[in-house]
Symmetry: C2
Subunit: 200 residues, 2 copies
């Protein structure tokens, strides 16, 4: 990797926590200069705009989040157990993430009435995350591990809504309880209403 | 009401949609001037700071949201049916609200790593909303309409998390479906797992 691309990556890595915590509008040039140790020219030699840097910082933050949410799920054979693990990962594996909470939630809330480029980024990430969950549900239906009447998109939407809302509440109240309750609820729901009975 | 307090209220009413859509950091003085038709001095004669105006705008937005979410609930005798109505109101009664989505969600996401005064406002609103739901659940337990083992705080947290997360997804994707699924799910959950059986 050239010196230039290394610097570029380092700027993204150091800016990501600022954008994820302060938001696009809330991030000042001075914040970026402090985080990177570079002057304005040193930063913007590598990016055409604040929007471009914020977009790449979003991708960095989201990539790390996805990998963490999927950790140890691939090797779980039963699809319902795999979904439960994805839920638990969201709740339990929060160390090592880019600080500031879920980048989809943060970017969605800030950009739903605003910045189109960032909004598109968040929307694609949400769709990608949803598609991953739907795929597991669909595989489960095929293997008769998931009840036949279950709609993959609905299960995916419920899991995402419940977890994202609980994350918002947990972060605001600075207590883990809403996330723990959300996890318990989803695990019990997956066992009781999604998992196919032995007779299925 | 004096002319001064009327102007003050009007500034709050007109600023509320700006803050709720653009956020605190994303709201520029020029946005507030355009919305109110006043110059800087005309606005800040009535408020000590942007933070004070944003706080009062939050209260205005939240007050309207609470009243809308509670509409027609008080006269429902059965507590589980009252909870279901509170859920449905959140999903169905979105016209007439201050544009921009739920002020708790918006303010929580922007301020969880930032502005303390607004964060406190959002936190109090969340606690107040949660307490209202908990009170209905507790009343339901007393009247044996709600199962004895149900914990009011947990039910309240689940309802809030699911609805707020679904609102985020619905607004980001610009489709109502996540909110409709959240409503269906919560209604079914309340019927199946919260409502006391006839034998109770």
């Amino acid at each position: 990797m050239s010196k230039g691309s290394e610097t570029r990556r380092e700027i993204i890595r150091r800016s990501a926590p600022i954008f994820n915590q302060k938001g696009f509008a809330g991030t000042a040039l001075s914040d970026l200069m402090e985080a990177t140790g570079l002057e304005k020219g040193g930063i913007y030699r590598h990016f055409s705009s604040k929007e471009q840097l914020a977009s790449e910082a979003f991708d960095f933050t989201w990539d790390l989040a996805v990998r963490t949410r999927l950790e140890g799920t691939e090797d779980i054979a039963n699809t319902v157990d795999r979904l439960k693990k994805m839920v638990r990962n969201f709740v339990e594996r929060r160390a090592g993430l880019v600080p500031g909470g879920c980048p989809i939630l943060n970017t969605a809330i800030e950009s739903d009435d605003g910045n189109r480029v960032l909004r598109e980024r968040a929307r694609n990430a949400l769709s990608e995350w949803s598609a991953r969950i739907e795929k597991v549900v669909a595989e489960g239906k095929k293997k008769s591990e998931v009840r036949r009447e279950i709609e993959p998109r609905k299960i995916s939407a419920l899991i995402i809504s419940t977890l994202e809302g609980a994350l918002m509440a947990s972060r605001l109240l600075q207590e883990k309880q809403p996330l723990i309750w959300a996890c318990d609820h989803l695990e019990s729901y997956l066992d009781k209403e999604v998992r196919a009975g032995k007779a299925a």
